[in-house]
């Protein structure tokens, strides 16, 4: 009897991860079972640090990096999270500590600044207050690595780790500087109201543009990231890591 109840509980948990309102999927979303974008953001995202020189692109060792933004696109199994007149979906990358930017490497006409910020955290929030500022109207970035509160209010829906977060800024000849950011494969933490949906998701990496040109970045900010978090949604391979003790608990 206990085993039957335990199995039923597992099946119900797995079923609930995929039982949600059907919505029109954004055309940029990958097909089921194919790796691609899971979350995308565009203009409304900025980064700031506790010790960074915008003119030289040098981040000091120990500088705390924060990224705040608003999602533009969500893909299955999160495609019902539609930014609209009712809700906004904000995200925060934090707990990122700079290893310091070494002097640039020069290859041909290109100067290259690399910086690694180690392992950080990502959090995604659903907020009906619709109060997170857009790109036009960013406040002065707070000091000390504090988070702009309007990006972390509302309901925490997902959280996880961002491993090996790094940026690369390049400047070629007389072209304006440009850049990119990238992480290793991220992972979900068992936190957030939608954690159960991650049972059908195989995470991948986060990456995107890292704009540092004058006029791209408001004063007191260090960069404008425009990017995405990739993953593969496959409802046929629902799985979740667990411990032997947790599994035993299901059948007691």
């Amino acid at each position: 009897m206990k085993r039957i109840l335990g199995v039923a509980a597992v099946l119900m948990a797995l079923g609930s991860a995929t039982t949600f309102a059907a919505t029109a999927v954004d055309p940029s979303c990958p097909a089921t079972g194919v790796k691609g974008v899971m979350f995308d953001w565009d203009a409304n995202c900025f980064a700031y640090e506790t010790s960074y020189n915008n003119a030289t692109f040098i981040s000091s060792p120990g500088s705390q990096l924060v990224v705040v933004g608003k999602l533009t696109i969500t893909c299955p199994p999160f495609d019902d999270l539609l930014p609209d007149a009712t809700n906004e979906y904000t995200f925060v990358f934090d707990q990122l500590t700079s290893a310091g930017t070494p002097p640039p490497t020069i290859v041909g006409t290109t100067s290259i600044w690399n910086c690694n910020y180690g392992n950080g955290r990502f959090r995604i929030f659903k907020d009906g207050a619709l109060n997170a500022p857009n790109a036009c109207c960013m406040p002065v970035a707070p000091g000390g690595g504090a988070i702009i509160p309007e990006f972390q209010d509302g309901t925490l829906i997902l959280q996880g780790t961002l491993p090996n977060f790094r940026t690369q800024i390049t400047k070629s000849g007389t072209n304006p500087p440009n850049g990119s950011f990238k992480t290793d494969i991220y992972s979900y933490s068992p936190l957030g109201t939608l954690f159960s949906r991650t049972a059908t998701v195989i995470p991948d990496i986060a990456q995107g543009l890292w704009c540092v040109t004058t006029g791209c970045v408001p004063a007191s900010y260090s960069a404008h990231p425009d990017g995405k978090m990739d993953a593969k949604y496959d409802p046929t391979t629902a799985s979740r890591t667990s411990t032997w003790g947790s599994i035993k608990m299901l059948y007691r």
């Binding site: 203009a43 690369q168 072209n175 990456q207 995405k228």
Partner: protein
């Protein structure tokens, strides 16, 4: 006295432009993939083959958002918006120590299109482009915005598998062109990321980028007291 007060008020309104934060303005953002066409040297080795001299560079993808001037004329619920860059030919390249810099000829083009979801053709990447659906399903529909691309550069660090693209863009075509007050001076830039399981066979990098222009430092409204405080 009244005249003096009026003149001071008039001056405050029109002369004391209080600086606010400079802001980046995005016209449209996109994500997609790039590929070589023509790919006269199919050797993928960045030292000798990838984006060899004279080879073509193209991108296809989806527009993920638009700026405020295009937003009233854009409906992502009813339509699919696709992106295409082409006419970019490798003019010069430099490779050393795992780092590649590729300079392209001037006169490239970038466009984005509107295709209705009902009755239109869903854009499909397929494999090994150009193919039966790429770029054809990314360039059907109605041309919204297009322009020339100059000074386009791709840099890629094969040690870190991380790179970017950037060029200047002048807008000159499309039915939405009339809604954009400034046509010249835009920047088309993006991430170039590989290798990654999301990149379909035959494509090289996944792209995530935007067409943007740095705004002039805008003004904000302030009270006379706030203005005076600035100059004390």
């Amino acid at each position: 006295m009244k005249r003096k007060a009026f003149l001071l008020l008039f001056t405050a309104i029109f002369a004391f432009a209080v600086p606010a934060f400079a802001q980046n303005h995005v016209l449209f953002a996109f994500q997609g993939f790039d590929y070589q066409d023509p790919n006269t040297n199919p050797n993928p080795d960045p030292a000798t083959g990838y984006l060899d001299l004279g080879e073509g560079y193209k991108t296809v993808g989806f527009v993920t958002s638009v700026g405020s001037e295009l937003d009233p004329y854009t409906d992502f619920t009813l339509n699919e918006y696709t992106f295409h860059a082409f006419n970019l030919t490798v003019a010069a390249r430099f490779y050393a120590g795992g780092f590649l810099e590729v300079d392209f000829n001037n006169g490239g083009r970038a466009r984005y299109f509107q295709d209705p979801k009902s009755g239109g053709t869903h854009a499909t990447y397929g494999v090994n482009p150009p193919n039966a659906t790429s770029p054809s399903t990314f360039i059907d529909g109605t041309l919204q915005i297009g322009g020339s691309i100059n000074s386009f550069i791709l840099t890629y660090d094969f040690n870190l598998n991380q790179g970017n693209t950037s060029g200047s863009m002048n807008l000159d075509e499309g039915i939405q062109l009339v809604y954009v007050p400034v046509h010249n001076g835009w920047t088309l830039a993006g991430l170039a990321g590989r290798p990654n399981g999301t990149v379909p066979t035959g494509y090289d990098n996944q792209l995530s980028g935007e067409c943007r222009i740095p705004d002039a430092t805008p003004t904000t409204h302030r009270t006379w007291g706030a203005v005076k405080a600035l100059y004390r």
